[in-house]
Amino acid sequence: MPFIPHTEQDVEQMLSAIGVDSIDDLFDEIPEDLRCGELEKIPAGMNEMEVTRLLRERAAQDGLPLCFLGAGAYEHHIPAAVWEITTRGEFYSAYTPYQAEASQGTLQLLYEYQSMMASLMAMDVSNASLYDGASALAEAVLMAVRANKKSKSRKILMPLTVNPVYRSVTEAIVKNQNIELVDVPYNAETGQTDLEALTQFVDEGFAALVIPQPNFFGVLENVDALTTWAAANKMLSIGVVNPMAMALLKPPGEWADTGVDIVCGEGQPLGVPLASGGPYFGFMCCKQQHVRQMPGRIIGRTTDLEGQQGFTLTLQAREQHIRRSKATSNICTNQGLLVTAATIYMSLLGPQGLKKVALNSHKNTQLLRQRLMSIKGVKSVFNAPIFHECVVQLDTDVKQLINTLAREHHILAGFEVSAHYPELGNALMVCATETRTENDIEQFATKLDTLLNG
């Protein structure tokens, strides 16, 4: 019996202590006609050796292609120590730290995480994580509607340069509460949110403006101008950022004079493997004044009976297990293990290391962009500065090209942008992090050149 320790003698003694004849008797409160028979469609069990063989075969089918694909998930080097420690049983197999005295390891780590993340974003406070970047944006939108008590508006300005899947997830999560997301167009030349187009929204009344940095195209937005505009029009501002980029770029707490009200995003670049899209973690930071509107777990530092430092779940009166239908969110389980990895990752990289990873990713993408532009049939799309990801235009069908490079050369060429932005035609979005070498880039460019020009 896999994972069940009982001997026959144990079972006999236990049944006798309970005063029943068989285990089946313990199910006698379930109406007989509801009971199911054998679950025939489920295959028989395998032992660990057999399942290892099966999974290795399956893994081999997927291979390890050379990756120039980003679009919200990025391949960075993860130090060996990160997951060696994260998967220690004491972290891996603990649960939400309800019993603070028996969970000081997780609690202190989460406090350190909150401190690191708040500082990286230059914000006052951070929560202990949400599910992923997309659902974090949905939660930020709900939070902004609660927090902007002056406006009473249930409308949010959502630039089209925000990751299209984040927009779609946010829509799915907030629409039942009658919150409306209104598109803001982008400038076709720069790829930035169109500041002039914003003027049409001045009189309408919105709860918040979302500001991505870098935006989905990898383009840097005019974050200072956008933040100033939102504040001038009595809207809250919600930053959506790549945390790795914030080691290099101006953090949301320092945008314009005021900084943003809320910032959120995808934590995956900080030590979390690509792993088919999850588990990752969403992060969220905000100004002190909004902390009681924040969703998710928050850890606080306090003292114990003897006056020594300790850590505990705090502001729980916001949460579903206390407030039920009046909670700030329904979230319960978050992404503790991924935050454990990210905290160890940020500790190992430190301020210099994180900045170097960001710089090298940026440099490699610049190299890649230059090399691709030297190929006949590849053109630049946007002229504004980018960070570590960029869009290029090809004179051939992008989907087909991606598939050919994947099938014949094991290269993931990038993201097919036209799937979400048909107006951009045959546009491909590429990314080269610090893990790509000049040789990798040359290999990709050579194959692409051959495909395009024979």
């Binding site: 994972f3 199911c36 708040a118 792993a275 003292t303 389980t333 160890i344």
Partner: protein
């Protein structure tokens, strides 16, 4: 000591730094960061030692009996982690073409099939990231179903008073009002109260069965009939699926939509508070509304089905395809259990719970429902001890920590005074349960002879009881913010 307090300017984990500094020419000066983020400057060994030491301040399944009710803290097989972390799986980009994902996608396709079979539902989507997101998706599907039928007067979701807090919170996130249904004296839903509450305004009911009271609701068929006759749908909260795995299926009980907590029933790690995975299963009429993506098979190839295949979907819950790595661990666990292993989970979880309940009653504790069978968990109430000895459920919980046992869930469900919700799971051996029983008996003796001993427990942990009020009033959630600006 905090990691920040070990920081020395100029120190770094040098083996982790990229070789080249790169060039900045292409970035405008006003886009750059001027301040230095307050991350620690420490060596690799300092990091390893610090976090290893922190880990040692945790109780966990791997180190302790962890009978946290309604959380199913069972052993997390190591093979699940090792195999889900194979480089091809952990390195796979979520947007990579499906030809570089046939292995992963085949596992997900089979997992959908296993979950369908074990729940008796018609279709499954794996995408919700946790139980609460599964609840949200489930209620959103109920709403989409009524909306499509133009049955828009249904504005209310019924929730029993014993339900998890996520249930009412999820219903509200879907735009519904919540009406609570009381529990009868025997622990089952109060059928008369249900009949009074139900009507044309009812969109559905959210139920956990077995409920959080640790009993199986024997009138479940009647409840299903009452709700369906009124035009409402039934939502099954799968938090307690461990109790009935392979014994009775939510689909057969009449539920229209369910979520499963794979981090409970399918033994994926709880990770200090996540990640979870909350797949949803539906009856035929809700299938068109399932959240995408869903793994499908076309022409012998596995692929992710999206909005084009499911035009009436409630949409996406996450940027990619949910907590894929958690799903993979659950798949590996399910493969090792196999069909015969599924029902053993319920059998031995139930055996352990009933044994523990019986023996704890013998040593002097009161069950909340002494006439009922325990399911995979049960509730003790310390109402009598609180009154007679001034010893609360919290005191007993804290004292257990001193004796190297994680505490059960305390003060939940809210309707049972001074309660401990205890779930041993099937992976604990009899001698562990016996040790727990002996300790509980000892604590009861301590309560009778020297109650003050319990009041200030624990004594042997890294910290004593913490000042939660101070934590709220003098809010300190980040260290030295912006110090080095």
């Amino acid at each position: 000591m905090l990691i920040f307090e070990q920081s020395h300017h100029g120190r770094a984990a040098n083996a982790q730094l990229p070789q080249d500094n790169g060039a900045l020419a292409s970035l405008p000066a006003d886009a750059l960061r001027a301040s230095k983020p307050n991350l620690p400057e420490v060596s690799e060994m300092q990091v390893v030692r610090h976090f290893t030491r922190l880990s040692q301040k945790n109780f966990s399944i791997d180190t302790h009996f962890y009978p946290l009710g309604s959380c199913t803290m069972k052993y997390n097989p190591r093979a699940c982690n090792t195999l889900a972390s194979l480089p091809e799986f952990s390195g796979r980009h979520p947007l990579g073409p499906s030809l570089h994902g046939q292995g992963f996608l085949s596992c997900m396709y089979e997992l959908q099939g296993i979950l369908k079979e074990v729940t008796g539902m018609q279709a499954v989507s794996l995408s919700p990231a946790a139980g609460a997101q599964g609840e949200f998706a489930g209620v959103a599907m109920i709403k989409a179903y009524h909306d499509e039928r133009k049955d828009t007067a249904r504005c209310e979701i019924l929730v029993p008073d014993a339900a998890h807090g996520t249930n009412p919170a999820s219903a509200v996130m879907c735009g519904y009002k919540v009406r609570e249904i009381p529990t009868g004296k025997n622990g089952d839903v109060d059928i008369e109260a249900l009949k009074d509450a139900i009507g044309p305004q009812t969109a559905g009911i959210m139920l956990t069965n077995p409920s959080t009271l640790g009993v199986f609701d024997r009138k479940i068929k009647d409840i299903a009939d009452i709700v369906h006759e009124a035009g409402g749908l039934l939502y099954y909260d799968g938090a307690n699926l461990n109790a009935i795995l392979g014994k009775v299926r939510p689909g057969d009980m009449g539920f229209d939509v369910i979520h499963m907590n794979l981090h409970k029933t399918f033994s994926t790690p709880h990770g200090g508070g996540g990640p979870g995975a909350g797949p949803v299963g539906v009856s035929k009429r809700l299938k068109p509304y399932l959240p995408v993506p869903i793994v499908g098979k076309k022409g012998g190839q596995y692929e992710l089905l999206d909005e084009n295949d499911y035009p009436n979907t409630i949409g996406r819950m996450s940027a990619f395809a949910g907590n894929a790595g958690v799903l993979l661990r659950a798949y590996i666990y399910a493969k090792m259990l196999g069909r015969e292993g599924m029902s053993r989970v319920a059998e031995f979880a139930t055996l352990n719970a009933n044994y523990l309940l019986k023996r704890l009653m013998e040593v002097g504790y009161d069950a909340a429902y002494p006439e009922r069978r325990a399911t995979h968990e049960f509730i003790l109430t310390l109402k009598k001890q609180a009154k007679e000895l001034d010893v609360t459920a919290m005191d007993v919980a804290k004292r257990l920590l001193d004796y190297d046992f994680h505490a059960p869930t305390t003060y939940f469900p809210l309707l049972i005074p001074e309660c401990l919700l205890i779930e041993p799971t099937e992976t604990e051996a009899k001698e562990t349960l016996d040790g727990f029983i002996d300790t509980m008996a000892l604590i009861l003796r301590e309560a009778k002879t020297d109650g003050s001993l319990l009041k200030e427990a624990p004594y042997t942990l890294p910290v004593r009881r913490l000042d939660d009020v101070k934590a709220v009033k003098q809010l300190d959630v980040v260290w030295n913010k912006r110090e080095s600006k």
